[in-house]
Symmetry: C2
């Protein structure tokens, strides 16, 4: 560690060294593991997986979203998504209704049961996230989000910002 009398201040570029970048990479790896572990544990008792979680999450976020829209957000093939949606619909967690304006489209909603599952999963994930937020403090949270947003692909950043702006400002 440099003993220059200067802190690693905003004017320093020390935060861009290879070592710092490597630490960030590992932080992402380990943190993502924690991030997914609680919902994964819940789902492992329910014949569902992480893919189902993502589906119900984004349907909750945008009720009435179409299959195609969900496809773009999730970044998977329709076959892969279809496999997940089929089970969710069959199990009565998601409803699929023919579009009013465009009858080719299917609009997706969570049923009561689907909403309950989504809530259970996001609550579990939220407990960890909130605890991390509280531990790190609001300034850190702002930085956390700034770096993550800068790390996204352009397309995803648009998706993210659209959602964020609904509540954020």
């Amino acid at each position: 560690m440099p003993q220059t009398g200067q802190p690693q201040s905003a004017n320093s570029l020390l935060f861009l060294t290879d070592e710092q970048v490597r630490i960030g990479i590992e932080a992402m790896f380990f943190a993502y593991r924690g991030f997914t572990s609680d919902p994964d544990r819940i789902l492992s008792n329910k014949a569902y997986g992480r893919a189902h979680h993502r589906a119900v999450h984004f349907i909750q976020r945008s009720p009435g979203t179409t299959v195609n829209n969900l496809l773009n957000i999730l970044g998977v093939t329709k076959q892969s998504l279809n496999r997940v949606l089929r089970t969710l619909i069959a199990d009565g967690l998601v409803s699929s209704t023919v579009g009013r304006a465009d009858k080719r489209e299917r609009h997706l909603h969570l049923t009561e049961a689907g909403a309950a599952l989504e809530r259970e999963l996001s609550d579990a994930q939220g407990v960890r996230m909130r605890s991390a937020y509280r531990k790190a403090g609001p300034e850190a949270v702002a930085g956390f989000r700034a770096v993550l947003e800068a790390m996204m692909d352009e397309d995803m950043r648009r998706q993210y910002s659209a959602m964020k702006d609904m509540t954020d400002g």
Copy 2:
């Protein structure tokens, strides 16, 4: 959103609302996609996958590490890791040497070729990370790391801190 005339300051608890937590969850989801996309693209031309990337990354980080140690870090079963290591060893990217003190253990090192692959992957990942760091600034980076660290499981935080302390002080 409350219009209190107060900014969302350090003393406010607004950053702990459900909406803020939900935004953080999506930030993690979208950012992790970006985070893995560059190495994934490189690997898709090489008959390797993300699991191989993780293996060479952590062997690079701790040369001579044992299989068991790697198992703990990666959090997968030995069968799963073994499949990956077998191909890496067969392809001459990783060397496995019998332990000197404990001959049951295998010590893992990257060969020249393995180190080259690891460099290619971590360079690609580093470009994105560094760019995100630069865009967000050093204060944000500190917050980013603080939140991620708080989000880890205890075991992983120990792994992470051990590595971090090697370069970080």
